[in-house]
């Protein structure tokens, strides 16, 4: 998939590119609205990651003017400004999602993945995870014909880890994905352990869960 990263903060843009390329996306960087427009005229993109604080034009204006030009692309707005109006206006103008900075790169990939699934009609093939099968549409984990019941949060956790397989994921990253951001402490991180324990318990009743690795002092990883 082709991604256009429109971000004037070069270090940030570079980090995003590194991360997404590791996840097999093809990336172009634009640092101004002018550059972005040029690139959009030359190429077709599947994703356009748009920072609102561009030097030469307001991101929302750019979104408005290019939405027609690149109609097939999914737009994700990124901004550090924290205004509620930006979010509402952006979504109204046709953006597919909105991420407030600072965001986790994992979260970004997760959102892009969700948009792709939505646009392809939620017709995902069932994913293989060692001896198990994960049905993302029905939110079920299967071992052969058996259905394993995971709670909502447990399923979210498992599918997130699967999306970012072979990457070490800290408790912090995992809990931010599951629970979001209401509290002003790291309390939630410890609950990840409880959920992982439950997942292991439920699934190991059927087959090995060795692929679900604990990284001491850090978090967890699915190794495949």
């Amino acid at each position: 998939m082709k991604v256009l990263i429109i971000e004037d903060e070069r270090t940030l843009a570079r980090e995003m590119k590194i991360f997404l390329e590791k996840a097999f996306y093809l990336c172009n960087n634009a640092y101004t609205a002018g550059q972005a427009k040029q690139l959009m005229e030359q190429n077709e993109y599947d994703f356009i990651l748009l920072d609102l604080g561009l030097p030469d034009k307001d991101g929302l204006e750019l979104l408005n003017s290019t939405k027609k030009m690149c109609a097939g692309a999914s737009y994700i707005i990124l901004t550090a400004r924290g205004n509620l109006e930006d979010r509402i206006k952006g979504l109204d103008l046709g953006a597919d999602d909105y991420l407030a900075k600072p965001f986790s790169l994992l979260e970004l990939q997760s959102r892009m993945h969700a948009i792709s699934r939505r646009k392809s009609g939620n017709n995902d093939p069932v994913l293989e995870l060692a001896d198990f099968h994960i049905d993302l549409n029905k939110r079920i984990v299967r071992f052969q014909e058996n259905e394993i019941e995971l709670s909502r949060k447990e399923f979210d956790l498992l599918s997130y880890m699967l999306l970012h397989k072979n990457r070490p994921l800290t408790r912090l990253q995992l809990s931010e994905h599951i629970w979001g951001n209401f509290s002003d402490d790291d309390y939630d991180s410890n609950f990840i352990d409880v959920h992982i324990k439950n997942i292991r318990k439920k699934m190991s009743a059927y087959a090995s869960v060795e692929w679900l690795q604990t990284l001491r002092g850090i978090g967890y990883k699915i190794k495949m």
Binding site: E9, T11, L12, E15, M16, I18, F19, K22, G53, T79, A80, R81, G82, N83, L84, A100, K101, P102, F103, S104, L105, L106, R167, P168, T170, L172, Q173, W179, N181, F182, S183, D184, D185, D186, Y187, D188, F191, V194, L215, R216, G217, I218, G219
Partner: protein, 428 residues
């Protein structure tokens, strides 16, 4: 008004006095006429050979009598009775003694008091009517005039002061008036409102810029660290260090976020347009915090009425408010403790929500400062950055509510949020 009443009361006597005085004048005019006629035509013009002369009008309203005077009498005008052809009537009489051809004569000219007063009543009524008419007219003219005069003022009030919502974003146009005072008032109001609007916008811009400037480097750091974590060459020891860095960065992020949040609340950048069912919201909060409640085996009871709704509030802010208070109640609770939510409605006055916990409590000398920024409990170190209650306080102030705390060390605390009754509605 008083003058008018006085005038109306005195009117009869005034009119009476005037007509009497006029009559006296009339009598003396008559007397003069008679004397000049006598001087011109001689007294026989009247006497005609008789020694006396008397004449009266048909209905005895006026009479005149001329007779030899007995004694010398001074000129007088008096009111007394006279008998005229068997009729005794009250007369106002002018008595004049004069000398003519060596003879003293007494001239009497009289008019019935009834006649004198006959016009009084008419005059009174007439005057009264005119007076009332004039008063009404004056009042009308006054009303019309002041209405016209004050019209610009009314317009100023209705267009600029009624139904104005902070921060006065709607465009303001000056009203048309030639009165300098009103023009000044109007332009002052416009300029004031524009200033407020500007200041509000500036504040919002500042918060927006501050957010951008603070969050961008944090964002860069976060992505750096995340990418670092995923490098293949990183060994376990390094990974741990990187994970620790992430935690610290996260802490910074949360604090900046909370401060910006408080700033936005205090700059009124949230709209109070929702109607909220507190039982619903508190239940949502409880669901978010379920894991924590379970871990500490805390008994949670929600007795907030399902029928009470609050108007003109911001739902997200109220969610955050309850989240912070209940989160604190959990954090500072003892294992196997309890949290109880209840409410109390005092009709026409206030509606209060109580959040009660059986936790470690708050020391009396710490109570006054718990809402300060970065204040954490002395009893309990670790979790939390000290901004939870500051946020609660800001949200409470923003909505015009009140918050109170009572606490017993080692027994528990009760947080009460007092809401004015006019914001509360009861569902049937």
């Amino acid at each position: 008004m008083l003058i008018v009443v006085l005038f109306v009361l005195l009117l009869p006597s005034l009119v009476g006095y005037v007509s009497f005085k006029y009559n006296d004048y009339y009598l003396s005019q008559q007397k003069k006429k008679v004397i000049s006629t006598i001087n011109k035509n001689g007294i026989d013009y009247y006497l005609q050979g008789d020694s006396a002369y008397a004449s009266y009008t048909m209905l005895k309203e006026e009479y005149i009598s001329l007779m030899p005077a007995a004694a010398a009498v001074r000129d007088t005008i008096e009111t007394s009775k006279r008998v005229v052809e068997n009729d005794t009537l009250n007369y106002r009489i002018l008595i004049h003694e004069f000398h003519y051809h060596n003879q003293n004569y007494l001239l009497e000219i009289g008019k019935t008091t009834a006649t004198i007063s006959q016009y009084n009543r008419l005059l009174q009524r007439f005057t009264l009517f005119i007076l009332i008419g004039l008063i009404v007219l004056t009042i009308l003219m006054d009303l019309i005039y002041t209405h016209i005069l004050l019209k610009p003022l009314k317009k100023i009030v209705s267009t600029k002061l009624l139904n104005r919502k902070f921060p006065f974003k709607e465009p303001l146009s000056p009203i048309k008036t030639s009165t300098l005072d009103f023009k000044f008032l109007d332009s002052s109001l416009i300029s004031l409102m524009e200033k407020i609007h500007e200041a509000f916008d500036k504040e919002r811009e500042f918060t927006s810029n501050a957010s951008h400037e603070l969050m961008t480097p944090i964002s860069i750091l976060q992505t750096h660290i995340e990418n670092l974590m995923m490098e293949d060459e990183i060994n376990e020891g390094l990974q741990e260090k990187i994970s620790s860095m992430m935690k610290t960065l996260n802490r910074l992020k949360k604090i900046v976020h909370a401060l910006l949040f408080i700033s936005r609340i205090e700059n009124e950048q949230f709209a109070k347009i929702h109607t909220v069912n507190l039982h619903e919201v508190s239940t949502e909060v409880m669901e978010e915090l379920e894991m924590r409640l379970q871990t500490k085996s805390i008994d949670f009871k929600n007795d907030i009425s399902k029928k009470v709704i609050i108007k003109n509030v911001n739902r997200d802010l109220l969610f955050q408010l309850l989240y912070n208070l209940i989160n604190n109640a959990i954090r500072y609770n003892k294992d196997n403790g309890s949290i109880h939510l209840s409410d109390k409605l005092i009709h026409g006055k206030t509606y209060t929500i109580f959040i009660k916990d059986r936790g470690i409590g708050i020391k009396a000398d710490e109570l006054p400062t718990i809402f300060n920024r970065f204040k954490k409990s002395q009893e309990f170190t670790g979790e939390g950055y000290g901004l939870g209650l500051s946020i609660v306080k800001s949200i409470v102030s923003f909505h015009g509510f009140e918050i109170k705390v009572t606490s017993d060390l080692d027994k528990g605390s009760i947080f009460s949020i007092v809401i004015p009754a006019d914001r509360v509605r009861l569902l049937p």
